[in-house]
Symmetry: C2
Amino acid sequence: MQVGKPVRRRVSRAEREQQILDAASTVFAERGYQAASMDAVAERVGVTKPVLYDHFGSKEGLLLACIARARTELLEVTTKAAGSASNPEDMVRRGFRAFFDFLDSQGGAATLLYEEAATPIGSAAEAVEGIRNQQTGFVTGLLNAQAPGADALRLEAYAQVIVGASERLALWRGRRGDVSAEQATEYLMDLVWSGLGATTPR
Amino acid sequence: MQVGKPVRRRVSRAEREQQILDAASTVFAERGYQAASMDAVAERVGVTKPVLYDHFGSKEGLLLACIARARTELLEVTTKAAGSASNPEDMVRRGFRAFFDFLDSQGGAATLLYEEAATPIGSAAEAVEGIRNQQTGFVTGLLNAQAPGADALRLEAYAQVIVGASERLALWRGRRGDVSAEQATEYLMDLVWSGLGATTPR
DNA sequence: ACGGTAACCTACCATGAGTAAGTTACTTGC
DNA sequence: GCAAGTAACTTACTCATGGTAGGTTACCGT
């Protein structure tokens, strides 16, 4: 008897791209970037390795694409949340809250956002840089709205602090497992908000 | 004519260990963890690969040892700085300042501290955990001294925030290159200190 | 001097990133 | 409908590098 022939399904480029990103995000999150093999990703998609290279160029490229997609989603979510606020304080609070909720909804795949440190120093630096600016730029915008005319360098520094603080708190929360998104948000607000309030144009 | 024989110098274990850590720190910082090869490290020491494995077990082990050493130095420096303060605010400020100065003194090798994300998920988790606790524990201690009796979970969260903020600000400073350690310290203090001041035992 | 041990090296394996070249499914013009 | 073109896909490799087995040599204690 003839076992059903492989029936090589062909799929549009865009569709395959998403499939690959899904699979890669999962595999990277499960095993960590280093330990994850390209063959494992390929197998999960149901395809062979060169396909991945045709789409993303390299393992690092694939990682960056995963990070970029995740960050874009994150940015959308937080932007939307901040937009529905009535006053500046509420805006920041909603932003933080949306951030933590987003990470919860992504499950373990959140770790992926912090794998960018795994990228070799010089190579894709500008890509990483762009992704970074995306987030800190958003925060800078929020701050600027709250304290228009304030020292630009200071605002940039504040944005860095806020992003760093959020990331670290999120990782800590993930490890502990018993801290609610609400609690984390309050901690962040309590520590940071009064400092922001003191920011006035000079 | 006989070209001078290799004169295989033999060296005590502890000494070789330090040589290897020095070389590895440099190579990891230059090329990044991934792109750095064990052979490159070995060559820099003037030794062959199996020696590295005899001392540190694996590439990851070597990385962790580098990170641990650097963090220990950092902890020493900040502890000393904080100890010479007259009041709580000054203590925190001196701690931050020492942190930035330390990274400056280390040059590019500072990036190394943040390569811990490069370690595969489950494997050396407890080692990474220990290193992390070393730093956040120190900060928690500082906070506790300032606000004795405050909610322990909250203090832990604050410690995470502060560490994350510092790290991120340091990376940003390294990339920009035109922000003094003093300036960075002030930014951090301004944002965080007033929030800390509001922390009272409940 | 003379074992014994610990540092060290040569020579190898295994895995996984990346690629060249050919094959097959779909599309498009006639 | 049907050929020709093209884009997705595969097989079958290369090559760099993490890691190791087993032998060799410098040093230390007696």
